[in-house]
Symmetry: C2
Subunit: 368 residues, 2 copies
């Protein structure tokens, strides 16, 4: 694995040098983990002129951190707690002969940036921008394999829940039960706060579970994901409770299903992000649900649950192969509820069979 991290760091260094900076400081935790294998709390990564260093907030304690640190990487621990590793790293960069340092301006606070400027005034500070995030968009097969295992775990947890009795249980309890099952099946933990919405809450993106109980006749929307070796996937399904869904429920379900399928089918290398969004959105739009749709139809996943790309009307860029994204259109009718269907897929060339569906739980409308 060490080689993988070294290659990633080399690519960031190349971009950074091309932009005229001698060294780079990576502070965003997911970026640190991507380049170093692990991100101990508060640690930053210096890509220096002579050597890369992981700079940590205090003496290494024996707390397990998520991930495994690249053994080839030297760790520099601040001698006493309370110091800012970013400031120390800037100082170390100068020590290695760098006269300029690219920092993640979208992550570093103004206060930390100022502190670097005042402690190491000779150092010219530049912006690394989203260079590491851009590298993270296309995944290697090792990363995709982690996502695939996470998706299997989420499918298992969801499948088991569906075999249990649901009527009378609260959204909160169903969410906790799902999270317990994720861990049972080997997840590091949930990939994000599990969302369970019943009745009027169903179909809402990111609904926080309440004490509402599942009732006969409800739509039940569930959205969950597993983290596996740091990689986060997402699955969302909507079910109907009771034996006979109402006509409006069947209609709405079919509509969202058609939108989600349209989105999935447009996942080909070279497709514009906005076209994937439009494919799904226009199905809902033409059925009169254009108002109040969520701002995006899907997004990248990886070390964070919400990564680039954004599949949204104003998004710029095109899909590459090996980019895992969600496709998650939904409609929520205030006071009545709604439907969301959410898959994680990996973009693959048609020659390889087209998009690879990671979350394989059925998307038929199940009456539970």
């Amino acid at each position: 694995m060490s080689e993988v991290y070294a290659t990633r760091r080399m690519r960031v260094r190349e971009r950074c040098n091309a932009a005229g900076a001698a060294a780079a400081l990576v502070s965003r935790p997911a970026n640190v983990r991507y380049l170093a294998g692990a991100a101990p709390h508060g640690a930053v990564l210096l890509l220096g002129k002579r050597e890369d260093l992981l700079v940590c907030a205090g003496p290494p304690d024996d707390r397990p951190t998520e991930g495994r640190l690249d053994e080839a990487l030297r760790v520099h621990a601040l001698p006493r707690p309370g110091g800012d590793p970013a400031v120390a790293a800037a100082d170390l960069a100068t020590g290695q002969g760098a006269d300029s340092l690219a920092v993640e301006e979208h992550h570093l606070t103004v206060a930390r940036h100022r502190a670097i400027g005042s402690v190491v005034p000779r150092l010219r500070l530049a912006d690394l921008g989203g260079a590491v995030e851009q590298l993270r968009v296309v995944k290697d097969e090792e990363e995709i394999s982690c996502l695939r295992i996470g998706a299997e775990i989420a499918d298992q947890a969801l499948g088991e829940l569906l075999e249990s009795i649901l009527v009378g249980r609260t959204e909160r309890h169903l969410a906790l039960e799902l999270e317990r099952r994720l861990v049972d099946h080997g997840a590091d933990g949930p990939a994000f706060a599990t969302s369970v919405g019943t009745g009027p809450h169903s179909g809402r993106r990111g609904h926080r579970p309440t004490d509402r109980r599942v009732e006969e006749g409800d739509f039940l929307s569930v959205c969950l994901g597993a983290t596996y070796r740091g990689y986060r996937c997402e699955i969302g399904r909507t079910f109907v409770i009771g034996t006979s869904p109402a006509d409006w429920q069947i209609e709405l379900y079919d509509l969202v299903f058609a939108a989600q399928r349209a989105g999935r089918e447009s996942l080909v290398p070279g497709a514009a992000y906005r076209d994937v969004d439009r494919a799904a959105r226009q199905v809902l739009d033409s059925a009169g649900h254009g108002e109040g749709l969520p701002p995006l139809t899907g997004h990248g996943v990886g070390l964070e649950i919400d990564e680039d790309p954004q599949l949204a009307p104003a998004a710029m860029g095109k899909l590459d192969a090996c980019v895992p994204v969600t496709v998650e259109p939904g409609v929520h009718l205030p006071g009545r509820g709604g439907v969301r269907i959410d898959d994680t897929l990996v973009v693959r060339p048609e020659a390889d069979g087209g998009p690879e569906l990671l979350t394989i739980t059925t998307k038929e409308l199940l009456a539970l």
Copy 2:
């Protein structure tokens, strides 16, 4: 409640005006919630010259946000998603006639700060610093009451766990079980990731639960907390598994207990933060455990689990009445395990009975 929020906002505005800024922009979510009653995702609070505004990232959706927004506060929603509420708020500040705006430089990123500067170049940007955090240190009785209820919930969850069979269960499962019980008893959710450490993992601050199972003869350390109406408390206890603790276990427990008591007893209005830390630390130090102690003995709690003050060797400042803090010394012996004892208490004058202990689970060494 609306009056409480208006008073808090007035106090921030006073500090901000005293520092020469006409308006203030609050972006840190816990600070937004403190001043507005709720912090919808991405929302910022403008304390303007003419009017205070909550500026939200998109049209208000019907998702429940934690907390209840102050009804007296006007909400300004950005017409389309993707914009930065901080930039919009700066623009609105100018519209109200402000020529200067104090921002939270310790929270705002360099990129957002720059975006404000380029969209509203006439506006002079100043630093609000930790003004809101400082206000948050001393709690009112309403806030303390939320912490007290949260502590009762945590005590209940812990008490129930102790009645169950522990041997053979994994750290992960015990942690999930505790979190489920917190929610059962009415918590919004856990206040932080529940820590359960057995055997060699016991006594570690912030230990992440693993698949290690509880064994006869182990120390078992548990640290959990409930969030109630946004307020977060913390309790930590160490138990011994089996009927007869070893001599070293009893000795170590007594030592940490003595250190924790010394810390608790030093919680009086006017005591220096560092003196509280020293009271606990020197007990451990003089027993030869000075090396490897965590950098702090305790910290404030409230809307965040780790707030000011820090009870640490280099901390500056003195305790006031009505400041809730944790006292949580611990010793971890690599390879063997250790003991941590952690309470949440509210500093009270001696005339009122001295420090109020919120987490009342016994601190006797229980053999389970």
